[in-house]
Amino acid sequence: MVSYWNSYVFISLFLLLGLLLPIGALWVAGPFLRPKNPTPEKLTTYESGVEPFGEAHVRYNVRYYLFALMFVVFDVEIMFLYPWAVSFDSLGLFGLVEMLIFLGLLVLGLVYAWKKKVLEWK
Amino acid sequence: MMGNLLTIIVFLPLLAALIIGFVPKSSQGQARAIALIATLLSLVFAGIVYAGFDFGAKGMQYTESAEWINIANAYKDQALVIGYDLGVDGLSMPFVLLTGIVSFLAVLASGRIQHRAKEYYIWFLLLVTGLYGCFVALDLFLFFLFLELTLIPMYFLIGIWGGERKGPVATKFLVYRGIASAFILVAFIAMAFKAADATGTISLNMLTIADAFSQASPDLITSAFKNGIFLVLFLAILIEEAFFPFHTWLPDTHEQAPSAVSMIVGGVLMKIGAYVLFRIAVGILPDAVQHYATLIAVIGVINIVYAALIAMVQKDWRRLLAFSAISHMGIVLLGVAAMNQAGIQGGIFMTISSGLLSALLFFLIGAIKERTGTAQIAGLGGLSKPMPILAGFLLAAALGSLGLPGMSGFISEILAFMGSFEVFPVLSAVGTLGIILAAVYLLWAMQRTTYGPTPAQLEGVTDARPIEFVPAIVLLALIILIGVYPQILSDLVNPSIQTLVTRIGG
């Protein structure tokens, strides 16, 4: 029998270590090990050797946003599928059909995006 | 059909308004004709009612009764029934007749309205329906509806066909009277629910409530409650009747409204407040009236004197007449405060008389303004030469208004003061000042208007057309009729007044 709390303590330890390693390497040990000798040339932004021009925070393609929105919707819908999958056996036919309807709607959403050319790049 | 006479009287103008709605815009003559016929027919039916009226009976006559709205569980698990109850008694009959006469004459006097005439008649007829309804409704809710029905048409009648300041004045009218009707509704509902506590059934019928109030034990309907309700109602009446300090809307209204509308405002609309006073305040809450008699009398006297004083400094005839009317209505308050037969009778006489006189005076001033282009006293003068007939009528009306014996004003004032001297000798004495002041301002204004040299620009004005004789003569005739033969009115109202007075005693 696995204790509920113990597994989360274990996970917390992983979190702790996962944070401590970079912190130790970058902030604690780092200053002693590496040289610090900044010059203006070093600190310039790298643009394949030419002088950087313009603003780097350019307006990027709106497609990125659309994909992000699609992701949000689909990822969240998957959230419903996991509990359903776990308790599939106890739900019976109604649960199956219900989820098929749900998936059908999901497909409809995908078709919608497809038809509206959200999935095209350009 | 005869059983529904009152319904017919009330809704004929409304029907006519609907018909006018379908008349083509170009034919203004038809609209006017329909309006004339409708108001005349209503008047005729009112005459039929009058002819068949049983002078001896004390109760309501020509009653019609039907259940209209039934709100289940409205109050303490009981249904609130709003009835379509109509009826007339000696108290309301004169008002119905007054409405009939003045509305017909006002339509007659509206001939000058050319601008958007069709709409004018529609609004006018709606107003007339509301006025009739107020006087025949026996259900408080119904009364309130008709009262509200007068509001909107008046707003437009002033706002569209009024003088140069029509917009703000229309709004002012609306605000004042709107607030007044709100108070009235509050008082009505409070009374109805209180009566329901006593009787066990909710009814908005005036008679039921009156009975409940007079019969219920003082523990159930306390005098404090009655007094409170009365104060609310009285406040509403003060606003409706434009008594000081809520008077400012009336002179503005009279000044800005077209003369035919002024006629109906001065003649009928302004009398609704008095009707509420007689019918509801005195009829249902006599104890409270008794309790506040002094207050009422004081406010009455203040109005008599104050309005008369203000009238003296007015430069415009219409404003002067408005204040004069307020002064007259102050006498009504004084008479009612006396709470005796003579006082109340005087109050009713005064109300009717003031209605007829106001209608006449506003009609005449309207006719004069139409010709001379002004109603400013300073702008007029020496009218007896170019328009002797109109000037003559104006003189007669003014004399009637200041209480010349033989005319309705005199008998009314006599009755009211007879009643009030018994109870408030000092106040009444002060009140009589008003009569003197009335003589001063009316005669002064008459003198400035009709006598003296005629200004050059008024030389060519014409006198009254034949059609204009009709309103003037009819109204003057009625004024004189009441003055010389007061029984025509007192026979009608006395049985009802006795009912009221006995209730005061009991």
């Binding site: 946003y65 949000v72 919707v73 990822d75 959230m79 419903f80 | -």
Partner: protein
């Protein structure tokens, strides 16, 4: 770990979110703050679902729905923001002043 601590955490997050939603100028930050508020609610629900007076599954189900709907809301919010940005070229709350009374 007691209920109070979780509830307090939820309350703090909720307040931070509310503060952000009401004061921040960038609409995206505002939307993020709203999400924070909703997540505070989720913490509350989950706490009650496990440690409440009467623990039950319903809280977890509620959380699932709350998350989904929050996501839908923010998706629509971003979509509207994009359309707004195309029209107005700004995502600053203070610039949203076409309509004033």
């Amino acid at each position: 770990m007691s209920v109070e601590q979780f509830i307090t955490l939820g309350a703090i997050l909720f307040c931070i979110g509310l503060y952000g939603a009401l004061t921040k100028r960038n609409i995206i930050i505002v939307l993020v703050s709203v999400e924070l508020m909703l997540n505070a609610v989720n913490i509350n629900l989950l706490t009650f679902a496990r440690f409440g007076l009467m623990p039950s599954m319903n809280g977890q189900i509620f959380t699932l729905f709350a998350m989904t709907i929050a996501a839908a809301e923010v998706a629509v919010g971003l979509a509207i923001l994009i359309s707004l940005y195309r029209n107005r070229n700004t995502s600053d709350v203070r610039d949203q002043d076409l309509m004033k009374w």
